[in-house]
């Protein structure tokens, strides 16, 4: 009986930690969304939602990463005023991919995130240019892309590191102890092998 009650308590704690973890991700997402719609420094609104989605994907399962990617995409589209669902579509593909790569092939490190995030940003940027600017052949679209969107995408690459460390902090802080210890052991082992 005691064992059953202990197990239930552990499950409850794990659920609470998971809830808190996702709550923190959501707060960070909201903060980045607000940064885009009401930039603290006028004219400087890096698309931090993309590095957030990719960073969360590195620490979470593929399904959760996909759902979070869709939400992030919606927020990004609403903030940017682009076709709703456009970014969600790409993040739905990218986030589970990163999550799977993180689980099976890639080491969870800032360098991996930087590379994965850069690829993701460049890919979304290209899709953005292709479908929302180039296709329409508007005279001003190229100018607005170069002067407004391109810098925002570049900032999304440059600021991926702090976003990664923030997500890692949230992820490790609100993860069950056993899981955390296991991850640390795997990480140490990988470093020793290196």
């Amino acid at each position: 009986m005691k064992r059953i009650s202990r197990s239930r308590a552990r499950t409850r704690k794990a659920r609470l930690r998971a809830f808190l973890r996702w709550f923190c991700y959501s707060v960070v997402l909201l903060f980045f969304y607000l940064w885009e719609v009401a930039p603290l420094i006028r004219g400087w609104c890096p698309l931090l939602i993309i590095p957030l989605a990719t960073a969360v994907a590195m620490f979470e399962g593929e399904f959760a990463a996909g759902i979070f990617g869709v939400v992030c995409g919606f927020m990004l589209d609403v903030a940017s005023g682009t076709l709703i669902g456009f970014s969600s579509m790409w993040l739905l593909v990218i986030c589970p991919t990163i999550s799977l790569l993180g689980q099976f092939w890639l080491k969870r490190s800032w360098l991996s995130h930087l590379v994965m995030n850069s690829i993701a940003v460049v890919f979304i940027c290209l899709m953005d240019f292709l479908f929302l600017h180039w296709v329409w052949e508007r005279e001003s679209s190229g100018i607005s892309f170069v002067h407004s969107l391109l810098p925002a995408y570049l900032w999304a690459i440059l600021l991926s590191l702090p976003v990664y460390f923030l997500v890692r902090l949230i992820s490790t802080r609100f993860r069950p102890k056993e899981e955390r210890r296991l991850e640390e052991a795997v990480s140490d082992n990988a470093e020793e092998e290196e």
């Binding site: 603290l40 996909g66 076709l83 579509m89 099976f104």
Partner: protein, 290 residues
């Protein structure tokens, strides 16, 4: 990894992708309508966006002040200079307008009195201190052709005469002053008299007409003009209207209280009549103006 592609979760993600494609198509076709995800995001984030905007505006305003302080200072200096120029222009414009009005009045007076030679329009530059009779100083003097005793008028009527003169200014004593005695008559009955003022009437901003014959027909409301017999004032200049008539205590003559046509305390510009027909013909001391 293979398990994932065969799992229900993967199928759900595929369904979501299909939904997203449908959503995108719907949004692209029905342009202008808000979709459910947009509505949800906008509704949920509205209070946060409002607060964030307030913070953002505050921070941006602060940064803007710091970053663009030099620009704003330069703009401020530029605008100050512009405002000063505008004020100067406005003052010039007012001055020109006033001068224009004065010249217009002068033209009218010249038409009425063809024999009059006027000075330049004279502005009142000072009120004589402690002068209860309303004496003042004008900005034209002997250099502009004015001379002592020249009558000073406005388009309304007589104001006074020059009692002190210098090169570029002159002092004027008004009709209320005992220094200015003017021979006058009523337009209606030609009843004559002399403006001889005293302190009591001057305090009420009125003049006293004396030496009116006992039998003379003079009534309140009669208009008084200059007689022009002294050579000091031209004939026919409006002086005022009769307010009250009463008999002298000795019973030999009458007196009349005159309300001057022009308010000597309110005038801001006047003209000196430097020459007119009959000037100086019986001019003697200047204090007696018959």
């Amino acid at each position: 990894m293979k398990e994932f592609f065969h799992s229900v979760k993967f199928k759900i993600l595929i369904c979501i992708a299909a939904l997203l494609l449908g959503l995108m198509t719907y949004v692209a076709v029905a342009a202008g309508t808000q979709t459910l995800p947009e509505q949800v995001i906008n509704t949920v984030t509205y209070p946060f966006v409002t607060a964030a905007n307030a913070i953002s505006n505050g921070v941006n305003g602060f940064i803007d002040k710091l970053v663009n302080a030099d620009t704003y200072k330069a703009q401020n200096d530029e605008l100050r200079e512009l405002v000063t120029q505008m004020y100067e222009r406005s003052a010039d414009y007012e001055e020109l307008q006033r001068e224009n009005e004065q010249l217009r009045e002068m033209l009218d007076l010249s038409k009425e009195h063809e024999d009059f030679v006027f000075s330049e329009p004279c502005s009142i530059i000072a009120r004589n201190a402690n002068d209860i009779y309303g004496g003042f100083t004008i900005n034209q003097g002997s250099n502009s052709g004015l001379s002592l005793h020249d009558p000073v008028i406005t388009s309304v009527g007589l104001v006074g005469r020059v009692t002190e003169i210098a090169g570029n200014y002159a002092k004027v004593s008004t009709l209320l002053s005992p220094q200015v005695n003017v021979g006058v008559y009523t337009l209606r009955t030609k009843a004559t008299g002399v403006i001889e003022n005293d302190l009591a009437t001057a305090e009420k901003k009125q003049c006293l007409m004396s030496q009116i014959l006992k039998d003379a027909d003079i009534q309140p409301g009669d208009v008084i003009v200059t007689a022009g017999q002294s050579g000091l004032f031209p004939e026919g200049l409006m002086v005022g209207t009769v307010k009250e008539v009463y008999n002298d205590p000795n019973g030999l003559s009458k007196h009349a209280v005159i309300e001057p046509m022009e308010d000597c305390f309110a005038v801001t510009s006047v003209y000196a009549v430097v020459d007119f027909d009959g000037k100086g013909l019986s001019f003697d001391t200047g204090d007696q103006a018959w």
